[in-house]
């Protein structure tokens, strides 16, 4: 039982961005994937989710033994994968409540009668400091950056995936918004049915890790994971930036 990425190579518009990613995320773990801009972090997120513009050249992604490569995005979500988008799309005319209910029914059709769904979504709104009026707004339509990220977290909490990829969820957030994101993730991890949820937190800055402590930190440069370590690695990035690791990586390849 784990998310196993092996030898993953992927291209965008015929340009190879991911050049062989190997990564194993065990249930309930928090992994941080850090790297400078353009290192391929978001490409990894989209390749895992099955975005049609990202072509997987080779490799495998197994979610609890099920191969995701080749599956359409909705099947991957049903298998238990969730992506929190850096720039989520707006869907005008579709209310947040309708969208989340439809998604929840799709990934887990068995349970949750309307009254319990309602109770659950109101609890999660509270954790995220969101006004219930939010539910009748159209998905991401006219949302501020912070509202978009909160909606991603609301979906995360309502869909209860096995593996959640958070793509730059911290970017553009003020401290209050970042705190509520942290609260939401930690509440999910503390809950009975969310305790097994594992996270892959993609970030440029280590700031978010103050709110959601990582068990494992990976550094990605030029489409490869060049270094893996514990939480101390994030602190090193905070102090020194990526240059030294980039130099180490360059010399080890040379």
């Amino acid at each position: 039982m784990s998310l196993v990425i092996s030898g993953l190579r992927a291209a965008v518009e015929e340009k190879e961005i991911l050049r062989g990613i190997d990564l194993v995320v065990e249930p309930s773990q928090v992994h941080a994937l850090m790297g400078p801009n353009g290192s391929g972090k978001s490409t990894l997120a989209f390749s895992l989710s099955g975005h049609p513009s990202y072509a997987v050249l080779s490799g495998s992604v197994k979610l609890d033994g099920e191969e995701l490569i080749g599956l359409p995005p909705d099947k991957r979500a049903k298998a238990g994968l969730f992506l929190s988008f850096q720039y989520p799309a707006a869907i005008p005319g579709v209310s947040v409540a309708n969208f989340i209910r439809t998604a929840r029914m799709a990934v887990n059709p068995s349970d949750l009668p309307p009254a319990r769904f309602r109770k659950m979504i109101f609890e999660q709104l509270d954790v995220l400091d969101m006004d219930p009026a939010f539910l009748s707004r159209y998905v991401n339509d006219g949302f501020s950056g912070g509202e978009k990220k909160r909606l991603e977290m609301l979906q995360l909490a309502m869909l209860r995936p096995k593996y959640a990829v958070l793509d730059e969820t911290d970017s553009g957030l003020d401290v209050d918004a970042l705190q509520s994101v942290g609260r939401s993730v930690n509440a999910l991890r503390a809950s009975e049915d969310g305790a097994q949820t594992a996270f892959l937190i993609i970030t440029h800055y280590p700031r978010i890790l103050n709110y959601i402590p990582a068990d494992v930190v990976h550094i990605m440069i030029d489409g490869r994971i060049v270094k893996t370590g514990g939480p101390e690695l994030a602190n090193q990035i905070e102090r020194e930036g990526y240059d030294q690791i980039r130099d180490e990586a360059a010399s080890s390849i040379a």
Partner: protein
């Protein structure tokens, strides 16, 4: 749209095979002079003059696109029956139904309404019994209005839709065989909608030429719902004209759900006096070919015109929609919003025109039209236009034609929503800005359900 409600059987004493010819018009006029026919409202002279105009007026349609299948010069009229009359029935069909009764076909033919008229083909149905209507309000057939309310009707009928400027308005005037007159006197507010129902009976191909005249006195308020439904390949070619008095407010809602074999044409126009508000809400959902020309004349200061229209063509359906707004004088406001979609070999075209006349300084006009193509063979043309002859005006127009946005689709699918469901959700959401302009949640839900059914019926949604 197929109706599960039982229709009364009607006996049509005399019917003419319809063709747009002088001989047919002569026969029609002779028939209206005879006994039993009572739907006629136009004089023989008016009919003959309109028919002469029909023969001379240009064929509308301009230069049809590659995939447009109809030529208005070559419409077939075979097997159509022209008739005119009224019939008493024991009870009125399509009375409001209980909202929670799932067993009946709850098309909101059962919309809560304050009264109205029902036509089967061109035959007016009359049922005994009380009506919910405010006694100050007039809702009657156009022929009866010609007799009983000539002073109210004469200044309006034929002056707002000019039958000598549009070929099918001319045809409708020449062969008029049914219709309605609605009069809401000054200061009277009718809360529930007045409903005009035009239903084609199964097994008949009726040639129906309705003429609806609506007059609102100063400060009056009303909502009129006109519905087109029924079975078979009817040809409906009508006129709706409205005079909205000073500070009056009129909503005209059109729900066109005619059979997929039918052709439904209409010329609709309103003249708005000082501080009057006219709102058009138009849903073109049925018919093989639907043509609607909607004109709003903002004739005096403070007048406001709002038009919201949607259409969704599937199979080989065609919709041809034209919306004109004329800012005749300054400090008038208009807002037009159109959403359309097409799937399978569905076709559509929209001409939107805003004219701001020379004296109309300080006018404010907006026209927005968006079209969604859901299959390879679907096609929608969009032609918005502004003619501005005044200075110091605010005018906006914009149009888009496109397919479902890939990023929206991916986002929904990344949440576990399957491709078909995601497309359905996005397409229905696309119509929401126009759906929300229709009055009443029940009517809005009816339209949402009808749009959803069009997606169900489509063989290709992409």
């Amino acid at each position: 749209m197929r109706l599960r409600a039982a229709l009364p059987s009607i006996t049509v004493p005399v019917a003419l095979p319809f063709a747009p010819t002088a001989a047919t018009l002569d026969a029609a006029i002779a028939m209206l002079d005879g006994a039993g026919a009572s739907g006629g409202a136009n004089s023989p002279a008016v009919r003959r003059a309109a028919f002469a105009a029909y023969a001379l007026l240009p064929v509308p349609g301009g230069y049809p696109g590659r995939s447009w299948r109809y030529d208005y010069a070559k419409l077939p009229f075979d097997d159509l029956r022209w008739t005119s009359g009224r019939q008493r029935v024991a009870t009125m069909p399509f009375a409001p139904l209980p909202a929670d009764d799932a067993a009946v076909d709850r098309s909101a033919l059962a919309t809560d309404n304050a009264g109205g008229l029902v036509h089967l083909g061109a035959t007016l149905l009359e049922a005994p019994g009380p009506t919910a209507l405010d006694p100050r309000v007039v809702v009657t057939s156009l022929a009866a209005a010609r007799r009983d309310y000539a002073d109210l009707l004469a200044p309006v009928a034929g002056t707002i839709v000019n039958p000598h400027t549009d070929r099918f308005a001319a045809l409708a005037t020449a062969f008029q065989n049914c219709g309605a007159f609605i009069y809401v006197p000054a200061g009277v507010v009718v809360e529930a909608p007045l409903q005009l129902l035009f239903v084609n009976p199964a097994g008949q191909a009726a040639a129906v030429f309705p003429h609806v005249v609506i007059v609102l006195g100063a400060g009056a308020r009303a909502t009129v719902i006109e519905r087109y439904a029924g079975d078979g390949d009817a040809f409906v070619c009508g006129i709706v004209e409205a005079h909205v008095g000073p500070k009056a407010e009129l909503d005209v809602v059109t729900i066109q759900q005619a059979d997929v074999e039918a052709r439904v044409f209409a010329s609709r126009a309103a003249r708005c006096e000082r501080d009057a508000t006219m709102r058009w809400q138009l849903a073109e959902l049925g018919a093989a070919l639907a043509r609607s020309v909607v004109t709003t004349e903002l004739a005096d200061t403070g007048a406001r015109g709002e038009a919201a229209a949607l259409f969704f063509t599937g199979a080989t359906q065609h919709v041809d929609l034209t919306m004109h707004t004329a800012h005749v004088i300054g400090h008038t406001t208009s807002n037009t919003v159109v959403r359309s979609a097409a799937t399978d070999s569905g076709q559509g075209r929209f001409f939107g025109n805003i004219a701001i006349h020379k004296q109309a300084h300080g006018s404010d006009a907006a026209l927005r039209d968006d079209a969604l193509l859901l299959s390879k063979a679907a096609h929608i043309d969009s032609v918005p236009a502004l003619e501005i002859a005044a200075n110091d005006v605010k005018a906006f127009h914009g149009a888009t034609v496109g397919s479902v946005d890939d990023e929206q689709l991916f986002y929904a699918r990344s949440r576990g929503i399957g491709r078909a469901d995601a497309l359905r959700m996005i397409a229905l959401g696309f119509f929401e800005p126009v759906v929300l302009r229709f009055p009443g949640e029940r009517l809005r839900d009816e339209i949402r359900t009808a749009l959803d059914a069009k997606i169900d019926a489509a063989t290709e949604i992409d």
